[in-house]
């Protein structure tokens, strides 16, 4: 069955909401959904819930001959499956692009980062090693599969216990759990993926996109990191151009989120360990009595509904009055004048802006957030338009309209007072500046 398409009104509404800094479930831009980890009765089985996205992970192991190229190393095999149970649009058993991409990312996150000590999985060099198999199933799809799967994968690996073995001469003995306690895998570190969705060519950024946000996003950046702030993989898809400071900002956010999630995982593992020792109810059995007919519970107070209208009024009254309109061009120096609403003389030093321009040209390809300068020649006047788009400050876009005159008039040295607060994040900044073109003479 085909996934249902996104209608125009959904797309428009979501983008408009994101522009206003609002999300469907009432989260802030940088908020992660609630993560819930529950364990199965057996070792190495867990379900991770990220909001409504659910991933089941199960680890198993068997003794196999090693790869000829690496005779002393165990093997880690990772596999993620999508089924129509998660979303009707997903097909079973088919290697869709999404599935291939997800599997590759998971593999890079878990295997290539060498989070598991594979050498400790060797039993007899060149003959017998443990193959650890990590199977993951998507049970429900509400966006950001990769984060949920990476958490589920690493939790299941941490939780797993393999049977103990002993080697006496040529003989290999595998002990049952009754004979000897199973041993945990040795985990070096816990890589966790954090996804960032970009909208409007990187102007807006959301952490942990939901399914509908994923459908209208322009690009996705996935960063895998461990709690020591070491980046394990980084993957950008969707074909958008990202600036250096955007990537840096994302990695900083990742560090914070990974620290939180790692702590949560460790707490969950400790809890489970404790309960198992005490012999109480553990695993999925523990959660059964609480579950009603509907497995999902709606989180309360998702959207802040407190006095919506009053707040809007307040914002309007508190906001700065609109800046003055300068009808006549203000001339600083020959060839440099400004006209329009809210004249702002930050670019007054012509050399500086030129220097910036040159610097921008060096950093080629940064088209998204760089100053774009357009020169128009109309008769004797040159209209220069300077557009500054700051990618991260979510509500700051300025437009200036500048009329450059030929030096025929006496240069007026009066500088316009700057009454536009730069960098103010209030909604006021959204007021559109009207363009006024005026040819001199």
């Amino acid at each position: 069955m085909k996934p249902s398409p996104v209608s125009n009104c959904e797309r428009r509404f979501l983008l408009r909401a994101i522009e206003e800094g609002k999300r469907l479930d009432g989260r802030q831009c940088y908020d992660y959904r609630n993560v819930r980890i529950s364990f199965g009765t057996e070792y190495g089985c867990c379900i991770v819930e990220l909001g409504k996205t659910r991933v089941l992970a199960q680890v198993s192991c068997e003794l196999v001959p090693p790869k000829p190229s690496r005779p002393t190393e165990g093997i880690l095999f990772v596999n993620l499956e999508l089924s129509p149970m998660a979303a009707p649009g997903l097909e079973p058993g088919r290697q869709s692009d999404l599935l291939v991409k997800l599997n590759r990312q998971i593999e890079r996150c878990l295997r290539n980062s060498r989070c598991i000590d594979t050498e400790s999985l060797c039993v007899v060099a060149g003959e017998k090693v443990w193959q650890i198999r990590l199977d993951m199933h998507l049970l429900n799809h509400d966006g950001n599969i990769i984060d949920a799967a990476s958490i589920a994968g690493i939790v299941a690996l941490c939780h797993f216990r393999r049977p103990d073995v002993s080697v006496q001469g040529e003989e290999v003995t595998v002990y049952t759990p009754e004979e000897r306690d199973p041993v945990p895998l040795s985990i070096h570190h816990m890589p966790i993926c954090v996804s960032f969705a970009f909208f409007q060519q990187g102007t807006y950024l959301l952490v942990d996109p939901s399914e509908r946000e994923e459908r209208v996003m322009d690009g996705l950046l996935v960063i895998a990191m461990n709690k020591h702030q070491e980046i394990c993989t980084i993957d950008s898809s969707g074909g958008i151009v990202l600036l250096k400071n955007q990537v840096l900002r994302c990695s900083k956010i990742t560090a914070v989120k990974v620290a939180e999630i790692t702590e949560l995982i460790q707490k969950a593992l400790e809890n489970d360990q404790k309960v198992r020792k005490e012999g109480g109810k553990f695993g999925f059995a523990e959660s059964i009595p609480n579950q009603k007919i509907t497995a999902f519970k709606m989180e309360s107070a998702a959207v802040d509904t407190n006095n919506v209208e009053e707040q809007a009024e307040e914002i309007i009254t508190k906001a700065d009055p609109p800046s003055e309109v300068f009808a006549n061009p203000v001339l600083y120096t020959p060839g440099t004048a400004q006209i329009g609403e809210g004249i702002e003389n930050s670019w007054g030093d012509f050399e500086e802006s030129e220097r910036e321009e040159a610097a921008e040209e060096e950093g080629e390809g940064d088209a998204t957030a760089s100053e774009c300068q357009k020169m128009e020649i109309e008769g004797t006047s040159i209209i220069e338009e300077t557009k500054t788009d700051e990618p991260i400050l979510l509500s700051d876009s300025e437009e200036e309209e500048v009329v450059i005159l030929q030096p025929q008039e006496l240069p007026k040295k009066t500088r316009a007072q700057t009454n536009l607060k730069q960098g103010s994040t209030s909604k006021k900044a959204f007021i559109k500046r009207r363009k006024k073109k005026r040819a001199a003479h």
């Binding site: 249902s4 209608s7 125009n8 509404f13 206003e20 999902f296 709606m298 998702a302 959207v303 407190n306």
Partner: protein, 254 residues
Amino acid sequence: MAARGGVAVEERVGQVVLPGDVLVVPAHPDEDGERLRLGAPPAPHTRLLCGPGLRRCDAGLLVTKCGLLRHRQAAGGAYWVDSQQKRYVPIKGDHAIGIVTAKAGDVFKLDVGGSEQASLSYLAFEGATKRNRPNVQVGDLIYGQFVVANKDMEPEMVCVDSSGRSSGMGIIGQDGFLFKVSLGLIRKLLAPKSEIIQELSQLYPFEMVLGMNGRIWVKARTVQQTLIIVNILEACEYMTAEQRKQAFAKLSGN
């Protein structure tokens, strides 16, 4: 199943039934026990209707969906199962919201959430002629009614009633937001004098379109207000009447 086999249908009304349950329809006292009333009704008022989720079998009624068994006494009595499923199956006469996926010649293809796409002729709009085509783009939302819906044919929708009037159907505006809820909630909302709708309408003005296929389109004055309505309606799925009243009281108190 054998244990469940002999349950009379009256006893289970209002209770949860599961697929595979067999409900026995009591036979007429003047008839022999083996023949059911269903087969050949002696009088019209004893005719029994089998609603969604029920199927006739040798022993009586076979349940095919899980949910609450309902009964209505009108016209001899009707039994059906009220389930909370999400998958929509088109039914003739239902009003549904479709998303235009393609414009193929003189028909539009609509995604209605069913297994197959529905078709909609461009002439099936109010006032549409061969010259005067409706302005429909791919991705637009259309509120229409099913005129053909059976398991062997492609479902077909129209946006006019039998007298050629639109009566509320047609293209839905460009603004607003579309989201999905379960079919059970939609039926609850569409019920005459639905409490949820009445309570919602006291908050602030907004527009809403409810499709029987589980889709709801909402538009309020601001993005924030639309988001609030969306969240309330999604939450209604999991709230009891009391919890809902509390939530509304909290909202209107502000």
